[in-house]
């Protein structure tokens, strides 16, 4: 066996964090294809005119489509999504990245913005689920 500096299980040990990897990338391939389609104005217009009909052109799971319609970024991340793809959706909505990001926390967008202005979320107690440090 080759040596490793740490077990990959540690990737699951960071509180409130999902590490995006090759398997997730594959699970979200069609979701991400939809997201990248929003890089064209014509497609943004078509999506806004008929969100459900536009989504049905992609081989996404029903759960992924539902989460897009609900703008449920937490679910989208759970289903393999990565924020850099997902912000194409929030950009299309005219949301700031901060608003999209804040929706995954227990804070309102205003509370989240206030937290950031006062220095952001401290890493204390946020580094490890097992170690609680």
């Amino acid at each position: 066996m080759r040596t490793r500096l740490y077990s990959l299980d540690e990737l699951n040990d960071i509180p409130g964090t999902t590490v995006f990897n090759a398997l997730r990338s594959r699970q979200a391939y069609h979701l991400h294809k939809f997201c990248m389609s929003l890089m064209q104005e014509d497609n943004r217009a078509a999506f806004k005119a008929d969100e459900r009909g536009y989504l049905d052109k992609f081989r996404m799971s029903e759960e992924q489509k539902r989460a897009v319609l609900d703008r449920d970024f937490t679910r989208l991340i759970d289903m393999g999504g990565n924020i850099y793809f997902l912000v194409k959706l929030s950009n299309t909505d005219g949301w700031s990245t901060a608003k999209a990001v804040s929706s995954m926390t227990d804070l309102t967008p205003d509370e989240y913005a206030a937290m950031m202005r006062s220095g952001g979320r401290s890493p204390e107690g946020q580094r490890s689920i097992r170690g609680k440090k």
């Binding site: 500096l5 990338s25 990248m36 912000v87």
Partner: protein, 280 residues
Amino acid sequence: MARITAGIATSHVPAIGAAFDQGRDRDEYWAPVFAGYDWVKQFQEREDPDVVILCYNDHASAMMLDVVPTFALGMAEEFDVADEGWGRRPVPQVVGDPVLAAHLAEQLVIDEFDLTLMNALEVDHGCTVPLSLMFGRPAEWPVRVIPLAVNVTQFPTPSGERCWQLGAAIGDAVRSYPAGLNVQIWGTGGMSHQLQGERAGLINPEFDNAFLDKLVDRPEELRRITRIEYLREAGTEGIELIMWLIMRGALGEKVEELHRFYHVPASNTAVGHIVLRPLG
């Protein structure tokens, strides 16, 4: 012979580009961010570099869906600005240097770095926000740019040590280029930030400031930082800091710090910026 005359690091937050494009760069929220980049604009006027090797990450604009290259070098004459969902940034097209890029590609692959070569590439805010911060609003960018896109999004990213080694090889490749070019290398992204999950909004000023300190005179300590340590300490997107090690690795052992800036926040992110001059 070509020379690397400076290494520059900066964050590349998209909201900085939006604030800049919409003329909000001197409002109450953004003025302290942009003030941190006044010095470097004067510096660039004096330095007048010919080419920038710009290490950045593509944010699912040109890569990451169908292909996920670990290191991708931009070979083209020009690179269009990507539409990331709210229209293209109103900035000049990025002009490349295919001859130097081909030299780099040749030397780096010979040196065992199995690069992906991009003959067509649209560049996103990762590339254009640093250009705006360094040069303001010119009609044309005053430098040619060789984009070097690094996968910092999909685990496993390259290690910090691998990035350092790539930077060292880039430094050697530039120094073996016959034309007398003034070349800068930029490392962009970071500093601490996390854009997903309940832990979103993470900022770690202790980690960031130690990183800035060590970048100057103890880079060997930075080379040992593991991916998991970046994720835990600097956030899932804070691992972009490995791209700063490509820049630093290209500068050689000793550097002089010319300028430094650190500010929290720009949107979700801790902004860091440093200008280094290689010594010897």
